[in-house]
């Protein structure tokens, strides 16, 4: 089972190839990038996100060389994600080895190994028949979780929130699970409560863009609602985290995107109502049952 979303960004020679996630599921198209400016454009336009933006960051550093400049400009473009942390990791390892490309390849390999390890750890916590509610897209990690569950003799079905306004749930997660022949259903974001009440789901799994050492997380808008509802219905809520920092979660800047993006995928009009678009929300520790950390050699 492989999803192009497991590795949505690749480095080949002196070009970065970015899977245009905004074209999925209609078209599997890659955008060629070979400058910092080009990388910032695809990042700002949400052509890639989540694990893709991690890969894009590392590969841009390989081409552009100036790690600090890449980190500061990436942060300006997507302010919620912790690019400084990635820069620190890269600089730490770059000191030991001269070839940045080799360092990046090693980190990416290690990262992938740890994602699989993390999936196995989480699968061990899930029930024998896991009906998993999820949001947005975890770049192939749900496939790893399904594989791990199968190896343990467990079964699973995924219930994916469509994740308005960008529809990452429908366009990415449903698409990648369905093409891997994994049982999956799609729901409107507001159907989460009724599914929980009816007992259709028995656990929730989400990713996180940021987390702190207290256990609070920041993730795709809609995550907090799932967490507080899950708590009410006594359903375990699991967060996949990386690089938790010693920071107050409220200090992190929640990105607010352009109003017009709220109306994505709806017919074009001359005017739209005024709108808000916080891209992420905060889920405090008290609503989270367990945190599955990614830890590996480069974290030591």
């Amino acid at each position: 089972m492989f999803s192009p979303l497991c590795f949505p960004v690749r480095l080949e020679e002196d070009n970065i190839f970015v899977l245009d996630e905004t074209r999925l599921p209609f078209e599997e198209k890659y955008i060629k990038v070979n400058t910092l400016k080009g990388a910032l454009k695809v990042l700002g336009e949400m052509k890639t996100r989540a694990f893709g933006q991690v890969l894009l960051f590392f590969y841009t550093c390989v081409l552009h060389k100036d790690i600090d400049e890449v980190a500061s400009t990436f942060k300006e473009t997507r302010p919620t994600f912790d690019f400084d942390r990635l820069a620190e990791t890269l600089k730490k390892y770059a000191r030991e080895k001269e070839d940045l490309r080799e360092v990046v390849n090693r980190i990416v390999k290690e990262f992938e190994k740890n994602r699989i390890k993390r999936a196995k750890k989480l699968a061990g916590l899930l029930p024998a028949r896991a009906n998993i509610l999820t949001i947005c897209n975890l770049n192939g990690e749900l496939i790893y979780i399904y594989q791990a569950l199968k190896e343990m003799g467990k079964g699973a079905c995924f219930f994916v929130c469509e994740t308005r306004p960008y529809l990452q749930g429908t366009r990415l997660t449903l698409w990648e699970l369905n093409r891997a022949n994994i049982p999956v259903r799609i729901l409107c974001d507001n159907q989460a409560a009724i599914l929980m009440k009816e007992g259709a789901v028995n656990c929730v799994i989400v990713g996180s863009d940021r987390s702190n050492k207290k256990g609070d997380i920041i993730n795709k808008i809609g995550t907090y609602s799932l967490a507080i509802l899950a708590k009410y219905f006594h359903i375990p809520f699991y967060a996949l985290i990386q690089f938790p920092k010693d920071i107050e979660i409220e200090e992190i800047n929640i990105e607010q995107r352009q109003e017009k993006e709220v109306f994505m995928w709806i017919e074009k009009r001359d005017s739209w109502p005024r709108a808000i678009y916080p891209a992420f929300d905060i889920t405090p520790k008290r609503f989270i049952s367990d945190w599955i950390d990614i830890s590996g050699k480069f974290e030591e």
């Binding site: 369905n178 799609i186 609602s225 009410y232 709806i266 109502p273």
Partner: protein
């Protein structure tokens, strides 16, 4: 619009009635910083129809997708919820898809819910998460969970 610009919101869930629009016009005369929060109300995109009605009545409002409600409650922006129900039953009030989500989030944040009889909905293009505005986003529409009216129990509406 930036979230920091918004002080107080009244959340609308369901199809607003003409009577309620008249009441809101009066309320707006006395509360300058107030906005109506119009969620999208998937799958029907009912929010677009509600927004049009409010615009025609010159009532200030803000549009958001349904999954933004939780964060707005968390940020203490929503002060009241107006739940436009379809039917009252001995067990609770029945409303459109997502009514339990909106009312339970209100209740869990101690935001009062006012029950009002809903207006008449037009025939929506979308019946479930497989489409938006009639455009199909998945190969197999059968994978979408059917959107149904939802009962909100009285203990949540208290």
């Amino acid at each position: 619009m930036n979230l920091e610009e918004i002080k107080s919101l009244i959340l609308i869930w369901g199809m607003i009635s003409k009577e309620a629009i008249e009441q809101l016009k009066v309320e707006f005369l006395y509360h300058k910083g107030l906005y109506i929060l119009v969620p999208e109300m998937r799958p029907y995109l009912l929010g677009l129809a509600v927004s049009k009605n409010l615009k025609n009545s010159r009532i200030r409002h803000i549009y958001a997708t349904d999954n933004m409600l939780g964060y707005l409650f968390y940020k203490n922006k929503i002060k009241k919820t107006l739940f436009f129900y379809k039917e009252i039953t001995p067990s609770g009030a029945v409303g459109i898809c997502g009514s339990l989500y909106a009312c339970l989030l209100s209740s869990l944040h101690n935001v009062p819910i006012k029950l009002l009889k809903g207006g008449i909905e037009s025939n929506p293009l979308d019946k479930d998460a497989s489409t938006i505005n009639g455009n199909l986003f998945i190969n197999d529409p059968g994978l979408a969970i059917e959107a149904k009216d939802e009962l909100v129990p009285w203990e949540i509406l208290k």
